[in-house]
């Protein structure tokens, strides 16, 4: 598969005539576009440019040194993307990268709480990452309300997780991503019904016809006993670096989704909306439990830190490969350079403290970037084959094979015993262009063809 790559490497390298990365031919062809976007290129009025193929050698690229990673308030608070004009995947990247950076902070705070000697370097990098997160999160426009941003969160969880599931080398982890994907897929449908029925607006104006708005594995059956959300971790010694980067990234995205729903849920006046956020936040908590349990707990703190920095580099690199908005693209490039600087800072620390070669943990070059494109065919196939999956401890089984008194059935029945918000909100709901009210008025007949306008 041909992947898109950043057009420009770290600014530290640009201008070095004999840099190895620049030896690679940079060109753009029609077949790249088709391979990258499929028929979307032909079917869309506005398309995202495809970037040329350039390998990123993360040992060679030093990025921007930590002490030159600076901000101002004006720099941090920029013109946001347009809810109306920008591509849905620009919103997807902003929401996703906010999640990645939120987890950079979250993880480092936890490390600082349990390790005294790392506190100073952790504090230094964390401060820069706090500002990176600020700049990214503040790109969300003020006319995009919390429910609209929520639809964006679910589109992230579907399209990014689908890309990860397709690329994941470890079959067990790939299965886990597909398992979670079908649940987030259902969340988009439930929130879409809420958006249509509460605000009278069309959720597809946010997702822009990239993503299906149909039921997935019903949210009402996603509730599981905590023990059934734990998975088997990858083995740090044998796992492919991409496996580690995937697990770090999806854990980060889901954790931010949980935190976002927990923050905005109480802003709603409608009780079903408040219930739905409570319900889906609970699934996101399950998903964080699930995905973080994929991480090998025997990795040292510094190893985890190094891998997290690599994941951040990889994710900015992926955004850069696909971004069509030049203002936003410039930010991805800048933060790719910043993250490379941070990666090298931590690499030096890792090698000094642990006396190990960072190359034993990190890949030499970055894998193919996350594919920011629609994955409808893959999601539909997955839905068809795996909708009825459940988990029994770390193992995937058919839902029907769980006995009636299984702990997860008991747990779920208890939670749903006073009604299911996700079923209530979407009762009889089928997405229709222009909202379900558009379908209703269409049934009433044309106002120009004789139907009385009252």
């Amino acid at each position: 598969m041909r992947g898109a790559r950043p057009s420009r490497l770290s600014s530290a390298v640009v201008g070095v005539p004999d840099g190895p990365a620049l030896a690679v031919a940079i060109h753009r062809t029609h077949s790249d576009l088709v391979g990258h976007h499929g028929r979307r290129v032909a079917s869309r009025l506005f398309t995202t440019p495809k970037e040329p193929d350039v390998a990123l050698d993360i040992f060679q690229e030093k990025g921007v040194p930590l002490d030159r990673q600076v901000f101002t308030w004006k720099d941090l608070v920029r013109r946001p993307y347009s809810k109306l004009d920008d591509d849905a995947f620009t919103r997807v990247r902003v929401i996703y990268m906010n999640g990645i950076m939120a987890d950079a902070l979250r993880t480092k705070h936890l490390m600082a709480r349990i390790n005294g000697s790392l506190r100073e370097p952790l504090a230094r990098i964390r401060r820069v990452e706090h500002f990176e997160q600020t700049l990214i999160n503040w790109l969300n426009p003020p006319d995009q309300n919390p429910l609209e941003t929520t639809l964006g969160f679910e589109q992230v969880a579907i399209e990014v997780t689908a890309s990860v599931a397709l690329r994941e080398p470890d079959p067990y982890l790939a299965q886990t991503y597909r398992f979670g994907l079908l649940e987030d897929f259902d969340h988009l449908y439930r929130y879409s019904a809420l958006y249509d029925r509460l605000e009278g607006k069309d959720p597809n104006t946010i997702t822009q016809s990239y993503t299906d708005i149909i039921p997935g594995r019903a949210t009402s059956v996603e509730h599981r006993h905590p023990v059934d959300d734990l998975r088997r971790p990858y083995d740090k010694a044998s796992a492919h670096p991409l496996t580690k980067i995937h697990a770090i990234s999806i854990t980060a995205a889901e954790n931010q989704t949980h935190d976002y729903y927990m923050t905005v849920g109480p802003f709603f006046t409608d009780p079903v909306a408040r219930q739905l956020y409570a319900e889906i936040a609970a699934i996101e908590e399950q998903h964080v439990t699930q995905y973080e349990s994929l991480l090998d707990p025997s990795e040292t703190l510094l190893e985890k830190w190094l891998l997290h920095e690599a994941a951040e580099v990889y994710n900015f690199y992926s955004c850069l490969a696909y971004e069509g908005n030049p203002r936003i693209k410039e930010i991805w490039q800048r933060f790719l350079d910043y993250e490379l600087g941070q990666l090298h800072f931590v690499k030096d620390l890792f090698e000094r403290v642990e006396g190990r070669d960072a190359a034993s943990v990190l890949p030499r070059t970055l894998p193919e970037p996350v594919e920011y494109k629609q994955h409808r065919e893959f999601v539909r196939k997955t839905l068809n084959a795996e909708e009825d999956l459940a988990s029994n401890g770390p193992d995937y089984v058919r839902m029907a094979d769980l006995p009636a008194d299984h702990r997860s059935r008991v747990y779920r029945d208890q939670l749903n015993s006073e009604g299911s918000p996700s079923e209530t909100v979407a009762a009889g709901y089928q997405w229709t262009p222009g909202t379900e009210l558009a379908a209703r008025v269409q049934r009433m007949g044309s106002t120009f063809a004789g139907r009385k306008v009252h």
Binding site: R39, R40, A42, S43, R44, L45, F46, R79, K83, L84, D85, D86, D87, A88, P142, D143, D196, R197, L198, N204, T205, Q208, S209, Y210, T211, D212, I213, I214, P215, A218, S220, T269, D270, P271, V272, Q275, Q374, R376, R380, G419, E423, T424, V425, A426, A427, G428, Y429, Q430, W431, T432, P433, E436
Partner: protein, 253 residues
């Protein structure tokens, strides 16, 4: 900076942006059945259940001081439930105070975007701003005279805040121009006019004629605001619809 509001460009929100994808997802949505039967009315059923258990958004506070207690006791004679009047006064106070901020925002827009023929003027916007401030003062004094605390947020004041949440957001958004801001001011002025009328009716019904007379002066001013704002907006929309060059849309004040 964008003076115009309705230019053609790469808006991606409609299904026509991507006809093939849109047809594909619509077909998929038609094929896949909902996970349970019913319709949107189930949301309303749950809302009803919660309504039955609800304790409302809050209360009107008791009188501010002992003097207030005495006065409120006197005022009790003028109505079976004087807190209704206090609640509505609290609402007008909140709306007029927030309204002042809206016009401050409109003046800032005027500085940046300028006006147009028969559009808002600095003097016109400042006059309305001062009127809103004086109406805030009028209600504040009225509440004090009735023994109530003008700094308290009454239930109606809280709700009018929820209702009008979008208005300051429109004015404060640097992406909106003066014409777009006038759309928000129109909503505010329409509500303001109807609400003053209701308040006057209530005051007269309760026998607060002196207050009602003062409030009538405020309503007279609000009626003028509405005429002004509607006129500014109409001329702005008409001008943009007809303008062939950006220069015709006015210059910064």
């Amino acid at each position: 900076m964008k003076k115009t509001t309705s230019d053609m460009g790469p808006n991606r929100t409609g299904i026509a942006t991507s006809p093939i994808d849109s047809a594909d997802i619509f077909q998929a949505a038609q094929k896949r059945a909902p996970s349970s039967p019913g319709d949107g009315s189930l949301l309303l059923e749950v809302r009803k259940q919660y309504s039955l258990e609800s304790g409302g958004v809050g209360h009107v506070p008791p009188p501010a001081n002992l003097k207030g207690v005495a006065k409120t006791a006197v005022e009790l004679l003028k109505g079976a439930k004087p807190t209704v009047f206090l609640d509505k006064l609290g609402e007008r106070l909140a709306f007029e105070r927030s309204g002042s901020r809206l016009y401050e925002g409109a003046l800032a827009k005027l500085d940046v975007y300028g006006s147009w023929e028969e559009g808002p003027t600095q003097e016109g916007l400042e006059r309305i701003l001062n009127d809103e401030l004086s109406h805030f003062a009028l209600i504040s004094e009225s509440l004090t005279k009735l023994g109530a605390d003008p700094t308290a947020v009454t239930p109606c004041a809280d709700l009018v805040g929820v209702m009008s949440m979008g208005l300051p957001a429109v004015l404060a958004d640097p992406r909106t121009n003066l014409r777009q801001s006038l759309e928000a001011l129109l909503v505010a002025e329409l509500t303001d006019n109807a609400s003053w009328e209701l308040l006057i009716e209530l005051a007269r019904g309760l026998g607060h004629d002196t207050l009602a007379d003062r409030f009538q002066l405020a309503l007279d001013a609000e009626s003028e605001h509405l005429v002004l704002v509607r006129g500014w907006l109409a001329s702005g929309i008409t001008l943009e619809a007809r303008a062939s060059s950006p220069e015709e849309l006015g210059a910064p004040a």
